[in-house]
Amino acid sequence: MSIPILTLLVLVPLVGALVASLLAKSNESIVKIVALASSITTGLLSVWMLIKFPTGSAGFEFVSKHSWVSEWGISWHLGVDGISLFLVVLTGILFPLVIVGIDPHHDHKQYLVWMLVLEAGVMGSFLSLDLFLFFVFFEIVLVPMYFLIGKWGYDQRIYAATKFFIYTMAGSAFMLVGIVATAFLARRDIGHLSFDLIEIAEKSNFSTSTGRWLFVGFVIAFAVKVPLFPLHTWLPDAHTQAPTGGSVILAGVLLKMGTYGMLRFGVYLFPEAAVWSKPVLLTLAVIGIIYGAIAATMQKDLKRLVAYSSVAHLGFIVLGTFALTNQAITGGVMQMVNHGISTGALFLMVGMIYERRHTRVIAELKGIQSVAPIFAGFFMLIMLSSIGLPGLNGFVGEFLILIGSFPTARWWVVAATTGVILAALYLLWAYQRVFHGEPDEANKSFAEITKREAMLLSVFVAAIVFTGVYPKPMLNRIEPSVKSLLEHVESRSNYKQPEIKAGE
């Protein structure tokens, strides 16, 4: 407990970025080593934190709190609990993999610097327990991502990057006003101006309508980030145009900032409003699931297809979150991590296909399985985890969400289940078109997977299989925090979870 591990998780990549940016451009290998060293150190720290994390703890661990802007009641307040734990670990592991595994092709130094800044921002978002601090990290993430898409992306990159920036910033505009209003309105109950999440959540006593307005302000920002239908239109563009590394990070961890924010800030701060908003948010989530799936089916571009599948998957997470039962939320948190692994890996593989063929159009790809069977095998497995095949990670989260939501959101679940079927449809169909059949001239020379790629993907596959077969260690760490969050909701509203015997 003596080392401030959470602060280090944010600072190590930031320092790495600073050092790398000061090195000369010609020293590419040294820049790479610095970037790798800082991201791997961060990854190891996050794993070490995971090992040290006490199973069964519901509250925040490794808390570090220092005054930052005392005039405004703002502090550097970091902490991790079961809900954020695996997102932090996912971030810690995903970044070094992306840095090692994906070649940006030009301007390596700038690319790596932005990647490290991005990592610091994402880490900070998942760890902040101060509303102001959270906003700072949430918003600062836009800058590196903007440059990553705009500089290393594909043809329409500037359009996509700008759209991403403006959409998210517009959402954040509401949240900033919401954050300031929350702090000022909570001042009466707390006794002084404070932006501290825990203090506000535990002590504040907003009137029903105030709480609802504030909740709406927060949720707009998160809904853009998730993205929730109908605010999702930036996502397909951003994903399609982003470089592979950007896509992996975007799908892997960035989108989770939205769903995580909904839980951590929306539900925790405004329990009554969360219960009140349930019908609307669940409906939007289900629309997102079905719409995302149908849109994915229609795509001609493989990367766009995966992007739309993200819309559908994140719909499931929102469904689980606002179904407000232990199982559903636990499933939602699991699904955040699982989606990060599966979709991150899918984007990685689509990137590999593009590297080889310089196209992502499904119609131009054919019969790859016969020329690159191992490559196809990896794709198959990852795709099945995305579909939610039992025994792989996607199933655990999705199943928990559906079963947990059924008692409180029956008809929404019934509708959402069709999304599971549609997922099988669009992914298997895509697989069939890309990998089956006889390869034509262009695809005949499709290179088999390289050692480096295989090693990279093995990490993802290991996570997919392990979580799918033995999810208990993960669930054990997530569940206590979810339980205490829901107890908080129940004590602050007239909502009661239906009594069900939780199947262990």
């Binding site: 930052w68 005039e71 910033m169 300031v180 000022f184």
Partner: protein, 497 residues
């Protein structure tokens, strides 16, 4: 304090307390007299004198602030000036902005081979005018300050001998500025008619007793309206903004920086003094109008900024949008019923201080990119700057992100202060509109960044930059980052306002 007062004070005048003016005036006289009586000085020497004068003023103001401690506001020169933390902070902002603008101008004039004492004397005159405006405790004194400031600006705008656009802009500014001054003066007259005084304290006292001479408030309301029009022109609020883009574009670039910083600070602080001090008991009458002006200014400024193709014009419109933001702070400061109205005042002053630094830094880089002749200010001129001159492009990026209000830059601290003030006085809708306008404006800053980083350069230019210019921009960028990470450095002062 008493000791110092005894040493310097004559019977009626507290010389030490008005020493910021005296230092500035000394600088002006030195430049004009010595400059005209001696042969051409060494390159940049005039600028050094000007910079030392401005820096000296800033230091003396800081000393006065320290001496004041927790002392109550007092008045100087037979109630003509106010002496308080509020006015001292505003004076300090103006002195700092003047210093930075002089550093820019010095390098600029050397590059253009137009080095001479007049420009610096005029800049210092403008600063004196601005300082009088912010310290004035009397509308007539305020008008004197306003005219000093404006006349210096008209000349400075037209000062470029090589560009015809400069003379045209100066003339335009002069004609429209004259109109605005007339509006302002007419407003002063009507307020005097309604309250019997031009003194800010006396007006406030008279209005708070609800005494309106002549029994009708029509004259007072007309006076308030005319004052608002006059100020609206000076701080370029929509719909009084039409001159801004032309003048900003036409003026020599460092002078644009001066207008955006010193001019804006002086006019806004004066506006704040008149409306939230003198007319505070009538805030129910003027607040709705100011709310409408704020929304118009925010939206129109941001939207028009986005469609420009010249960076100076873009920044002109973005300055309009920023003015709308600052006006939100005024609305909060006018919410006299709320205990948090003071947040509006401190938020506005922090914003002005931070924005001054941002605008000078940004236009400083535009000055460099514009090259000799000061002509290359189109968006295309910034293409490929990230490749040819990464340090400069990085500085510009930091300043632009700050103007957009991205966290960890001073711009975010400024915006947050205003939003905080608006929210604490329950102007939620206005706060949301302001933030959304900031998002629209962000698009403009992104366009410049796209040009610099993501577009291929058309020409590879060889850029040599004078030391003073480099120093000014370095200070601006440094302050932007440091204040972004440690806002307390500024807030500990503005919180006392």
């Amino acid at each position: 304090m008493m000791l110092a007062a005894n040493m310097f004070v004559g019977p009626e005048i507290d010389w030490f307390k008005i020493s910021p003016f005296l230092v500035m005036l000394g600088g002006v006289l030195l430049l004009i007299l010595a400059g005209s009586l001696t042969p051409q000085w060494k390159k940049g020497a005039y600028g050094v004198v000007g910079a030392i004068t401005a820096a000296g003023t800033a230091v003396i103001t800081a000393l006065l602030w320290r001496d004041l401690g927790d002392g109550a506001p007092s008045s100087l020169l037979a109630n003509a000036l106010t002496f308080s933390k509020f006015t001292l902070f505003a004076t300090f902002s103006i002195a700092i902005a003047t210093l930075l603008a002089i550093l820019l101008t010095s390098g600029f004039l050397v590059r253009e081979d137009e080095d001479g004492p007049e420009i610096f004397a005029l800049i210092l005159c403008a600063a004196i005018g601005g300082m009088v405006m912010v310290q004035a405790n009397d509308l007539i004194v305020m008008f004197l300050g306003l005219e000093t400031l404006s006349l210096a600006f008209y000349l400075l705008t037209a000062s470029s001998r090589s560009r015809s656009a400069s003379g045209e802009a100066g003339l335009k500014y002069f004609v429209l500025g004259g109109f605005a001054s007339a509006f302002f003066l007419y407003g002063v007259a009507l307020v005097f008619g309604a309250t019997g005084s031009t003194n800010i304290d006396a007006i406030a006292a008279s209005l708070s007793k609800d005494i309106v001479l002549g029994g009708s408030s029509a004259m007072l309301l007309a006076g308030i309206a005319l004052l608002l029009v006059g100020f609206g022109f000076k701080v370029s609020l929509v719909p009084f903004h039409t001159w801004t883009a032309d003048v900003y574009q036409g003026a020599p670039t460092p002078i644009t920086a001066l207008m955006g910083s010193v001019g804006k600070t002086a006019a806004f602080v004066a506006l704040l003094r008149v409306f939230s001090d003198a007319l505070s008991s009538r805030s129910d009458d003027w607040r709705p109008v100011v709310v409408v002006l704020a929304i118009l200014t925010l939206v129109v400024g941001s939207v028009l900024a986005v469609v420009q193709t010249d960076v100076k014009r873009m920044l002109a419109y973005s300055s309009i949008s920023h003015a709308g933001f600052i006006l939100v702070g005024l609305v909060a400061a006018g919410q006299v019923a709320s205990a948090d109205a003071g947040l509006g005042t401190s938020g506005t002053l922090s914003y002005l201080f931070i924005y001054s630094i941002l605008v000078i830094g940004t236009l400083g880089i535009v000055t460099i990119v514009a090259g000799k002749g000061d002509n290359e200010t189109s968006l295309n001129a910034f293409k490929g700057l990230g490749k040819s001159n990464p340090v400069l492009a990085m500085g510009m990026t930091v300043l632009l992100l700050a103007q957009a209000g991205v966290p960890l830059t001073s711009g975010f601290v400024a915006k947050f202060g205003i939003i905080r003030a608006a929210v604490s006085t329950e102007s939620y809708v206005l706060a949301v509109v302001a933030m959304l306008a900031a998002v629209i404006a962000a698009f403009l800053y992104l366009r410049i960044m796209v040009s610099m980083w993501l577009s291929e350069g058309t020409t590879s230019r060889d850029i040599s930059v004078a030391f003073s210019t480099r120093l000014a921009i370095g200070l601006c960028v440094g302050a932007t980052v440091v204040l972004g990470f440690f806002p307390s450095l500024l807030l500990q002062f503005t919180n006392q306002l």
